[in-house]
Amino acid sequence: MRPLRAWLVRILGLFGQNRRDREFAEELESHLQLHVEDGIRSGLTPAEARRAAIIRLGGIEPIKESHRDRRGIPFLETPARDLAYAARMLRRNPGFTATVVLTLGLGIGATTAIFTVVNAVLLRPLPYPEPDRLVYIAMSFGEPGDHAFSFTPDYTAWQNHNRTLSQIAGYRMFQANFTGGGEAERITGAYATRSLFPLLGVQPVMGRTFLPEEDRPGGPAVAILSHAFWKRRFGGDPSVIGKALTLDADTYTVVGVLPATFLIPGREESNYDLWVPFAISDSGKAKQILLQVVGRLKPGVGIGAVRSDLEPLMQQFRRKRSVVVSEWHERVAGGARRSLLIFLCTVSFVLLIACVNVANLLLSRAAAREKEMAVRRALGAGRGRVLRQLLTESTLLGLLAGAVGLALAYWGKNLLIALIARNLPALEPIRLDYRVLAFNLGLGLLTGVAFGLAPALQASKVQLNESLKEAGRGAADGHSGNRLRNLLVVFEVALAMVLLCGAGLLFKSFLRLRGIDPGFRSDRILTLNVNLTLSQYPKPLERTRFFQQAIERIAVLPGVEAVGAGTSLPLGGYSMTVSGLTIEGKPEADTAASLTMVSPDYLRTLAIPLVQGRYFSDSDREGSPSVVIVDESFAHRLFPGENCLGRRIQNPGRKTDWMTIVGVVRDIRSWPEQMASGEMYLCYLQAEQVHLRMTGGEMGSEMYLAIRTAGDPMSLAAAVRSQIALIDKSQPVHDMKTLDERRAGSLAPRRVSMLLVVAFAALALILGSIGIYGVVSYSVSRRTHEIGVRMALGAHQGQILGMVLRNGLGLIAAGVAIGLMASAGLTRLISSELWGVSATDPWTFAAVIVVLAASGSAACLLPAWRAARVDPTRALRYE
């Protein structure tokens, strides 16, 4: 009980400090007087007696201090007092405070912003109940790479017989032409099994989700709208339930509207406008359809058990197939981990450099404050006490910088998101949450200690007598202080070097990628997609007629130079691959090739150069001999060293027909990573005689138009749209972009990664140069006297300049040497992000060294020049 009472009294002791201080001072004074009287009685002079009494007491202030400590709760009060003192110090040095807070705030802000993204993508769980029990299920043929899909028969078996999942659901994306109420629109929807919404725990804001009878073959055609689609196409109509809508000429009844926050996580953008039931047939003869499958683990079941549960249930063992089960979040976000971690590493290097700069600034200040420290020590403060005070100051600085950083991150994150959204998987919107706040606070505290510790240790290590005697220069300014400062700069240069090397490699990869000749001209070309509603255009001839009309109408628009159409574009649509082609006279040939059906002017419009033979012409139509144009890869692979013009390929659509090769064109390379693998072009005027079926549609119902224009392609957008609407206004124009945009888009993720890292590296370079400048100019100012002496003894300006430059360049050289070794080791970590450049590319490294040396020398030059201009007479008096 007694200690408790004591604590109570001490807590009360926190109040009325002044009165208690005064009272204790009085008590001590009376103590001293009693002692002094005794002393006088034993024959001392009053002055002697008082001195003896104070010594015997052990000093007045230390006793007061220990009394105060005992009276209240020191580990609560001292920080409060230190904090108040620190705040006063910082207020009194606004320039210093602002420099530190801004430098660090920038670093912390950038780090926090990146962390906000990392948090949203990698750390935050999926926005569903018990998200850690959600798994993604796909099948694999044992091939490496992405496993995204399963087949419907397997899904049915899993659903009926599994023992490890409490729920299982499937969905599949589709596109359709939406008509009714305004302009026709190509929408993206998804088929979903009835189980999907209960599995995710999603309640519609209006209406209901699917009923049991709705996801069976022949069930009623119903649709659930996304919140955004409901707002956009139905104006947020509260009575939308029960209304009808038309997709590809089929009528659906709206039964529900999903909440605005609902999303299906995906690796890429996955905004489904609406959902319709996924009717999976139970009969064994039904067509196999690919779908995406998710499940919810039963309680107590581990993810590993699912695979061995589901694998034996698979319907088809003709080929070697296995089941791949992964956490849904990991499957969606895992791919972004690497580049996000690279960003986080990069930005923390920048923060580290900012810390080093601030530490250096504090070290210089510590030298200036040495006397203050000495006085504090002389007045009875222990080393620990001084250390604590200094660390309180730096922590306060760190926290202030953290606050600035938080504000920067708050505003900057939208910029960042706009920049890198395309590199991120589709997950919940990115926002600041408690984790980000905790991270930011932690960062503030950590940096406060990180940059404050070394200077504080240095400053608290004062030699009392020396410092008090000396006017200004003392121990902290001596060898160990300089060494520490130099070490920090070397460290900083090494960090900047690593960042610059990484940025340089990414930059070079990007240039390499962009420099690749794609084999076609992408400038001044407007592209767009039209996907004809199949039920309205069931025959190839009708579809051809539609596109012929479109081409004719667009070709006469002012400003249009050429118009072509193709079933896919370089950088747009899906090209189709056919295998098992038969070539006349070459029964053994390996004949897989991609296939594009094009209008006669397509190749000319895209300026894909003709190597041999001829382009298609209007006479290559139904009834005339079937013709085909191949690319060089195809020609070289199948007819090495031969002239392939006039050779024939069996028509994959009709075995009795043979297609004659009439031309060879240059390879195109749609995607930078893609290697040309052989391409065949068919003329769409012969669509009827060469037409091909494929899953989910027929070749030729979806076409891209490419329009070469004289001026800005986008200025023709509206005119083109209205020409197509004039043919049939129920066929929507979709995916309208310039071809340049498509090209830029294919490079965009790399461009963004590269830009971010380059920006951080540039920041590192600037901060590093400031650091070098700071240290060199500090050493010059400290050595003014010495320089004066040297000049007085006959050193000329060049020698002084050389001396200072050598000093700075030595540091840079050491930093570069260490940085070079570190880079050689660390750049390997980003080798997967590089293209056509080795991770230790000597040219990049050399360029980085030149850049670092140049900016480092520039940073040294100013103080060196100032040193060389020192006036010896002034310098000698300087102190």
């Binding site: 007694r2 200690p3 009472r5 004591a6 009294v9 001490r10 204790f24 009085e26 008590e27 001590l28 009376s30 103590h31 007087q33 009693l34 002692h35 009287e37 015997r56 007491l57 052990g58 000093g59 230390p62 006793i63 220990s66 009394h67 400590d69 005992r70 009276r71």
Partner: protein, 109 residues
């Protein structure tokens, strides 16, 4: 060196023997009785006294010294007297044990 507990016990004992006394007096008394064995800064008595006061073993009030000086006087409370008896008893026990332990020869003779 004097550790805090001992100093507190000595202060309590002093107040028990001499009655109400000021800090200076207590410090002098401890110094004298311990035969300068414990050469202690007088100042260290004050945090010890404060602790005793917080624990309720002593009380303090301002009074006037023998030579008419204003001084703060410390006085044993009833709890303090009990604590003194308890601690003195413990000390004696402890010293007896240590004594016996450290000089076994005496016991043998």
């Amino acid at each position: 060196m004097v550790w805090q507990g001992t100093l507190a016990l000595m202060a309590l004992q002093t107040l028990d023997a001499l009655g109400p006394l000021h800090g200076y007096g207590i410090a002098r008394r401890i110094e004298q009785t311990s035969g300068d064995l414990l050469s202690v800064n007088y100042g260290t008595i004050y945090p010890a006294l404060l602790k005793l006061e917080q624990e309720g073993y002593i009380r303090s009030e301002w009074g006037v010294s023998e030579n008419n000086r204003k001084a703060k006087y410390y006085k044993l409370t009833r709890a303090g007297r009990k604590q003194l008896q308890k601690e003195a008893h413990q000390w004696k026990q402890a010293t007896t044990i240590m004594d016996r332990f450290l000089s076994p020869a005496k016991e043998a003779s």
